[in-house]
């Protein structure tokens, strides 16, 4: 049995065995610790709650319930607001996806003042007489079976 062991037994209020009692009887340091720690713990302990404190404590449950309801109300309001915000975002996204093609500006096929005339068609231009076009025409004619 060491002094440390005895200190632990004293503090944890374990029943002292014969060996511990013998050690305590012969060790001045442990005797001082026993009395000192008892005084220390008594000093550290808070006084018992007064009657006023107890009376105030009795009203804790109703106060708490009220507080809980406030918190609950705030939470449900926040949840509803969040739901509305999410719904609004989804609605905006769907609406913008549906309306986007209609909102895009239409590019005119031929801008006003720049009308294409018959003489400007590719077949009438130099392109129609290009060698590529002629080759294609030749191939087309040759491909028919002779009668």
């Amino acid at each position: 049995m060491t002094c440390e062991d005895l200190e632990l037994s004293v503090l944890t209020e374990e029943a002292l065995n014969d060996e511990a009692r013998a050690h305590l009887a012969s060790c001045a340091r442990c005797q001082a610790f026993q009395s000192g720690s008892a005084q220390l713990l008594a000093d550290a302990a808070l006084p018992e709650p007064t009657a006023e404190e107890k009376a105030a404590l009795a009203g804790l449950a109703p106060r708490l319930l009220q507080g809980w309801r406030v918190v609950d109300r705030r939470r449900s309001f926040a949840r509803r607001a969040l739901g509305l915000a999410v719904a609004a975002c989804v609605g905006a996204a769907v609406a913008s996806a549906a309306l986007l093609p209609h909102l895009q500006p239409r590019v005119p096929f031929a801008p006003a003042g720049d009308t294409v005339t018959a003489s400007e068609w590719p077949l009438e231009s130099g392109l129609a007489s290009s060698s590529d076009t002629e080759d294609e025409l030749d191939a087309y004619e040759v491909s028919w079976p002779s009668p």
Partner: protein, 213 residues
């Protein structure tokens, strides 16, 4: 609420009161909307919570405020963990509502203490001493000073030692309960308490010597 629902609620309450409902059952009933279960759950632990938070409060209003916040946070935690709680309860698991509540109370107290230090509030102990000095008893004053020094020193203990000390001395819990609340072994709880007392003794001696010089 229709007649059947009222009858069912009444039967449930009778059943619960007949066999002293567990915290988990009361918690679940409250979150289902039963306010009587809420009241029972609060009353069951309010003395203990109040005793714990008193050490960290300036006055009784502050202690009640801390107790209220501790309960609200514990209920909020219970609401979030309710599916897990139900599973644990059906599997025979213990629901740690009280542990949550006590740990939250201690943590709130610790935060309160930190804020109080930050704002350099007047110590309640000092007010207490001044009141007693007015009474004029020298012996009472010396004792009050010693108590104030000791209680102030408690607040300077390392976190785990302070938690164990507070649950043991303020809450009056057994070492097994202290260990269960903090999620440590009983031997560990005893060891922390031992170190806490020794450290407290040192702190008080230092302060007494400092005052004397």
């Amino acid at each position: 609420m229709d007649v059947n629902a009222v009858a069912s609620e009444r039967a449930k309450l009778q059943l619960i009161s007949a066999r002293a409902a567990s915290d988990a059952e009361l918690c679940r009933d409250f979150l289902d909307g039963n306010t009587q279960a809420f009241g029972e759950l609060v009353r069951r632990h309010q003395d203990l919570v109040h005793r714990l938070v008193r050490r960290y409060s300036k006055d009784n209003d502050g202690a009640l405020e801390l107790a209220q916040r501790a309960y609200l946070q514990a209920f909020e935690a219970a609401r979030r963990a309710l599916p897990r709680i139900s599973a644990a309860a059906t599997a025979g698991g213990e629901v740690p509502f009280r542990s949550w509540l006590l740990r939250i109370a201690i943590n709130l107290g610790k935060n309160q203490l930190r804020d109080a230090r930050r704002w350099q509030k007047v110590s309640v102990e000092q007010i207490d001493i001044e009141k007693r000095v007015e009474a004029g008893a020298l012996q009472a004053m010396e004792r009050a000073q010693r108590e104030a020094l000791t209680r102030e020193a408690v607040l300077q203990l390392p976190k785990r030692q302070r938690e164990v000390f507070s649950l043991r001395i303020d809450g009056g819990l057994s070492f097994a309960d202290v260990a269960a609340t903090l999620g440590i072994t009983e031997g560990n709880a005893k060891s922390h308490f031992h170190y806490a007392v020794k450290r407290l003794h040192q702190l008080v001696q230092q302060r007494l010597m400092g005052e004397a010089s």
